[in-house]
């Protein structure tokens, strides 16, 4: 007797039909599960380190009570690149993972040039504009407005600060450098290669670390690196000389990031350096090492362009994607956060909301970071971060590549400048 069971045509058609129906049902369930569900709460996209402060702000300042709008604090990707990729795909799909986003300058340039951010002018009262100091207004005009429309408002106003070891300078009997010439001489005073001590260090790895430094130095030289002009050439030559001619800066910086740079400072390997305000908190976390005269903030050494461009300001701010699912609610939250009565209250929750608005500076008191900011603003040394008006991120990457190649002696300065000019011409 044969074990083979033959499938008759009727049975085949029946089973095939069953399989097709089952597949169709399963697909329907899957697709309905995947279908975009309109979220019920407004989604505010923030970075991890500010999330707790945002939660408290929303809870304690009574936004939900006043408007009836519930807010979900969600973490946005940490890096610029990841956020851009996420936004690009979601905007193409006609939606957005966030209704209101807290984002940095580089993201602002890309999203605004892509036309993905909503104009906000109708949401900003004259009272808010009057609250802006001239420095913050300059920053806003450069970085938050495009084609006559405001697409973002800064809640965070940061500057490149200059930090130094006062204890070391006192020990050596040396005064702090006042200008580029003084900085050049600091190598002789502090650098000891055998013990790994350098007068200064920087985080010069590519991907938005190196660019911060050459933007800072090029500003001091009186220009914008993305114009690839004489100021960039002067800046690159200066940095190269600090590394290889004067032994002032550690050449290994070219592959260091901020963590490595800070680590070297806290390990007593660096006499002075430029760093963002977060360094203030970083040093205080090392309680056994920390002493006030180890981390003193001073005015940066003045470059060839004079004192007015000794440092630049930049920062983070809020914007609303045009494709935000809860667009109207996001507008309400935006108005709430920028209101002159609320802006000063935000700094009670985190220094992340410290900025150069009159009301904020008045309410901020005299804590260390506020004092530093006031010192820089009062000295009139703050300019705005240089930008490439059209393709900022691409411009940063191209100039970083050229600068990194020159600062590791792969190409000469004339070659670097020729390459930089060609790349910037192509972008424009």
């Amino acid at each position: 007797m044969s074990d083979t069971r033959k499938l008759c045509r009727r049975a085949f058609v029946k089973k095939t039909g069953q399989a097709v129906v089952t597949t169709a049902l399963a697909s329907g369930l899957f697709i309905s599960g995947c279908r975009k569900k309109e979220h019920t709460k407004l989604k505010l996209g923030v970075t991890g380190f500010s999330a707790d402060a945002y939660r408290k702000i929303i809870d304690e300042l009574g936004f939900t009570e006043q408007t009836g709008i519930e807010v979900d604090i969600v973490l946005r990707p940490k890096t610029t690149n990841e956020l851009l990729i996420q936004m690009a795909s979601s905007v193409q799909a006609g939606t957005s993972p966030y209704d209101l986003i807290d984002f940095e300058d580089a993201v602002a340039m890309s999203l605004s040039r892509a036309g993905w951010l909503a104009p906000l002018d109708s949401l900003i009262s004259q009272e808010v504009w009057n609250d802006f100091t001239p420095a913050l207004m300059d920053l806003t005009k450069t970085w938050d407005q495009y084609k006559g429309e405001t697409f973002r408002i800064h809640h965070n106003f940061e500057m490149c600060y200059w930090w130094y070891r006062k204890d070391w300078f006192d020990l050596k009997g040396t005064s702090v450098p006042k200008n580029w010439d003084d900085v050049r001489e600091m190598g002789k005073v502090f650098t000891d290669k055998n013990s790994g001590v350098w007068a200064t260090e920087e985080a010069l790895i590519k991907n938005f670390n190196l660019s911060v430094y050459f933007e800072w130095i090029t500003r001091q030289a009186g220009g914008n690196p993305y114009h690839a002009d004489q100021a960039l050439e002067t800046a690159l030559q200066y940095i190269h000389d600090l590394m290889f001619k004067h032994d002032t800066m550690n050449p290994a910086c070219i592959q260091k990031n901020y963590d490595q740079q800070n680590n070297d400072y806290i390990a007593d390997r660096v006499a002075f350096m430029r760093q963002w305000p977060f360094f203030y908190d970083v040093t205080r976390q090392h309680k056994q090492w920390f002493a006030p005269d180890k981390v003193v903030c001073g005015l940066p050494p003045v470059g060839p362009a004079g004192m007015n461009t000794s440092t630049y300001a930049c920062g983070w701010g809020w914007g609303i994607p045009k494709t935000a699912p809860k667009f109207d609610e996001a507008c309400e939250l935006f108005k709430f956060l920028i209101a002159s009565k609320n802006a000063p209250k935000l700094i009670d929750y985190s220094s992340w909301f410290l900025n150069a608005r009159h009301s904020v500076l008045k309410a901020a008191g005299n804590s260390g970071l506020v004092n530093n900011m006031k010192m820089y603003l009062d000295a009139g040394i703050v300019t705005t971060r240089p930008l490439h008006w059209r393709r900022y991120i691409e411009a940063v990457t191209k100039i970083e590549n050229v600068a990194s190649a020159y600062l590791t002696n792969q190409i000469s300065l004339p070659e670097a400048m020729t390459s930089a000019r060609a790349k910037m011409a192509f972008l424009s």
């Binding site: 499938l7 008759c8 045509r9 085949f12 690149n81 851009l84 990729i85 690009a88 890309s110 040039r113 892509a114 036309g115 290669k193 055998n194 790994g196 790895i205 590519k206 991907n207 550690n250 050449p251 290994a252 070219i254 592959q255 260091k256 490595q260 680590n263 070297d264 390990a267 390997r269 393709r391 991120i393 691409e394 990457t397 590549n401 050229v402 990194s404 190649a405 020159y406 600062l407 590791t408 002696n409 792969q410 190409i411």
Partner: protein, 293 residues
């Protein structure tokens, strides 16, 4: 037979094959075709540009010294990495194929580098190579009294990237070769020994020929795989200093997903695809040549 004639059999065949065929068309043929089409346009996500530009993107990239430099290092990177991985993989496999105490333990720890995610390995090595506090730099300082920044010059950064890649992948290569070695009958070695063949002769005339199909397969696999992977370089050097360690996939990532120049990035992708196809073709030819029964 379910259906009575040939025509019905063909219909049944088509019905059963159609889902898979459609799936492959949607997930492979369409993206490839779309990529090729995009490479002939100047599509940029921000500017909504979609003009047909013919071969202009190809002209730009092939006349761009930076891209040519990237291509050059990519070839060096995959060729040197694969060669060294083959050599070290084979040496490790030969060692692990011997009988010695703790062999099982040795085989297990051999896999540790491979088990570490590549991006994690990249970040670990960045710290290992830090000039001030890196473990490797510390050893170097202990030996020579000099602080060295391994990632600070083009040549040393390139060598470092290749060596870290070899460290990461040679162990996997070793496991495959070990499996191959265990398939070589001991009788062949015995016969050769009786005929007076030494260790080197046995290795050259028995081991290598017997492993040749495996050597070619793994070479092709690693050449193609490494040509398309970028996580190690991304995490370790970011393509720097300058663009000395930039490889083609990293270039595509920048152009496509950071600058959103879809047209230009697609052109680079098509070039990469062509290279992969050529390597694959050569590999298949070589495999057929050595694939004796």
């Amino acid at each position: 037979m379910i259906f009575g004639n040939r025509q019905k059999t063909i219909w049944l065949f088509s019905l059963l094959v159609a889902p898979v065929l459609l799936l492959r068309l949607a997930t492979a043929a369409y993206p490839i075709g779309k990529t090729f089409w995009l490479s002939l346009t100047d599509t940029h996500l921000f500017d909504n540009e979609h003009a047909f530009v013919g071969l202009r993107n190809y002209y730009h990239l092939l006349s761009d010294p930076d891209f040519l430099s990237t291509m050059f290092f990519s070839f060096i990177y995959i060729a040197a990495s694969t060669l060294l991985e083959l050599i070290f993989g084979l040496l490790i496999a030969l060692m692990l194929n011997n009988k010695f105490k703790g062999r099982l333990f040795a085989r297990a720890i051999n896999l540790i580098p491979w088990a570490i995610p590549t991006i994690v390995a990249a970040f670990i090595f960045r710290w290992f190579l830090d000039d001030q506090f890196g473990l490797i730099s510390h050893w170097w300082h202990g030996l020579t009294g000099q602080h060295i920044a391994f990632l600070n010059t083009a040549l040393s950064a390139q060598m470092t990237v290749i060596l870290v890649n070899v460290w990461k992948n040679a162990s996997f290569m070793a496991v495959i070769f070990l499996a191959g070695l265990q398939g070589v009958p001991d009788e062949i070695y015995e016969a050769a020994r009786l005929d007076g063949a030494g260790a080197i002769a046995r290795f050259c005339h028995i081991t290598v020929p017997m492993l040749m199909p495996l050597l070619i397969t793994m070479s092709m696999y690693f050449l193609i795989w490494q040509l398309a992977s970028f996580d190690l370089v991304y995490g370790l050097t970011g393509g720097g200093p300058g663009i000395s360690t930039e490889i083609v996939p990293l270039n595509i990532f920048h152009e496509g997903l950071i600058f959103f120049k879809f047209g230009y990035a697609s052109a680079v992708s098509v070039v990469l695809m062509a290279i992969v196809a050529v390597i694959g073709f050569v590999g298949v030819k070589q495999f057929k040549r050595y694939n004796y029964e």
